[in-house]
Symmetry: C2
Amino acid sequence: MDNKTKVKIENVVFRAGMNYLHKNGFYWIPSIPRLVKATGACENIDTLFEVSVNNCKLWFGKDNESRHKAYLSQTGQLYLESLVPELGKVFCVGSSFRAEPVIDDRHLIEFQMVEIEFDGGFDELLTYIEGFVYYIVGALYDEGMLQSNIVSCPYVFPKTTYDGAIDTLQNMGEIIEWGDDINSSQEAKLVEYYGNIPIFITRFPDPSWDHGKPIKVEKFFNMLPDPDNPGRVLSADLILPNAGEAVGAASRVHEYKILKDRLINSRMFKRLVEKGGSIDDFGWYLNTIKERGSVPHSGCGFGMTRILKWLIGCDNIADAVVFPSNRGTII
Amino acid sequence: MDNKTKVKIENVVFRAGMNYLHKNGFYWIPSIPRLVKATGACENIDTLFEVSVNNCKLWFGKDNESRHKAYLSQTGQLYLESLVPELGKVFCVGSSFRAEPVIDDRHLIEFQMVEIEFDGGFDELLTYIEGFVYYIVGALYDEGMLQSNIVSCPYVFPKTTYDGAIDTLQNMGEIIEWGDDINSSQEAKLVEYYGNIPIFITRFPDPSWDHGKPIKVEKFFNMLPDPDNPGRVLSADLILPNAGEAVGAASRVHEYKILKDRLINSRMFKRLVEKGGSIDDFGWYLNTIKERGSVPHSGCGFGMTRILKWLIGCDNIADAVVFPSNRGTII
């Protein structure tokens, strides 16, 4: 596909997605920072890029006493979350940076995410995700840029719990145990099973719950426990045909004490401490919630380059955008 | 001003600006990279942030033979420029990163820029800048969010050459010589002189010209020499009341040999070499122009946070956005 076609598709996709959010009352926050403390990290803290100035990592801080490290943001989630009590519905658009050591056809080290947070619950969250994706597909179709033989998108997506997905995969003969991560080829098998349309896998194992054994699948510390399913969180991954996991979504814990406990006991935080970090890295975030309080809320991150891979139908994610960055190709 | 009001203004400003560009046939390129080689540097190469992984700076590259450094982008200009022959009119929106060592009320270390490049000349460029700013002001006014006693914006902006601005400042009694940088308090005096509306300073000294003495004002290497004014380039800075320089603009050199000569002889390139860089950092950019050729083109970067400072009327640029980042305040 030539650059011009790629750019035209990318334009329609981003504009439609942002228009959908605008129509639904979300405020765009262009100034969400990308140069951040550890509050810009997702659960994959090992893939954080570090930032320095003239070989000095401890360049940041008001004065010599408060010097600290800085990183490239993997997610704007916590910054958006802090605005929900005041603004209700917010979103951001921009780069997510991940130091993926291996060059493959599914990962980039910089890719575009649209992230939303709002003062609502889990069902509403899934409806927004369906609406966002459906609206984009409709806009591309209207512009005559969608090959309907590749992309099929219903208004409501099939949903399976994580537990159900493990059962389904085991029944297919896949070697997977409850607690394992569902790998990309298994995601593809599930998508095929549901008819090659977008599907949700919901209610993943709670990382803070004692499951009696270590679990491999790893979810963000502030996902909200599902009141109806002990040991599960109100989370969802959207899996797309030919692209795999494209959206990570969850309702969030909003109570200070529970949040702090979950953070301190998370694997992500333990690895941060090993890297020289501390609870101070999350100081502004915890203090905001402690002092101002928060409200029940939910949110997600749309991996736009994965969505483009699905819509374009290319084999390599690097072919989905004009300037793909992986470890070997930055310019 | 509370966060909600700030966010509402920011929303209108960014949406209006992007709509103006869309109406005028510009394509948005969301995947413009922010994690880059030295082609993401502007003339202030000393303020480049370096990026590393697990303390390793030479992490980037396809294999051990091709390992190289990476930086945070200061501008998407060269990436946009490379698309002009194929796409005509393009723009990007995102963070510009500058390692400003001093915390003041005019600079941030991360701020939002909207950048455009298109296959046209200098007069058209100035018209687009006027149109973009006027359209934003109109949109804010329509939404009832503009205090007309602070912001005044005509359809066409006064223009003075750099030479004329130096004369005017000298006549005011300012201590400034031809070749000097016009500092922020002098910019403010010029703006006041023209009636506290946006003004252009145009046709700065050509950095590649032998002026018979060193010149302090520093412009980007690929600005196009003005055929009618020897020793000057077809460049313009937009100066805003209460915000100073908010847009840097120029027609660009598009001929390979001239471009390479200007790059190699630039002060920016000499400093890059001192930092351990080389002409290879610009390899993809020079090769693209050598192999595919280019077309006459022009472009600019809108410093959106400075524009917001003007529109809001705040004293400190940190008060113009919800998440301002300077050396002491990143979160």
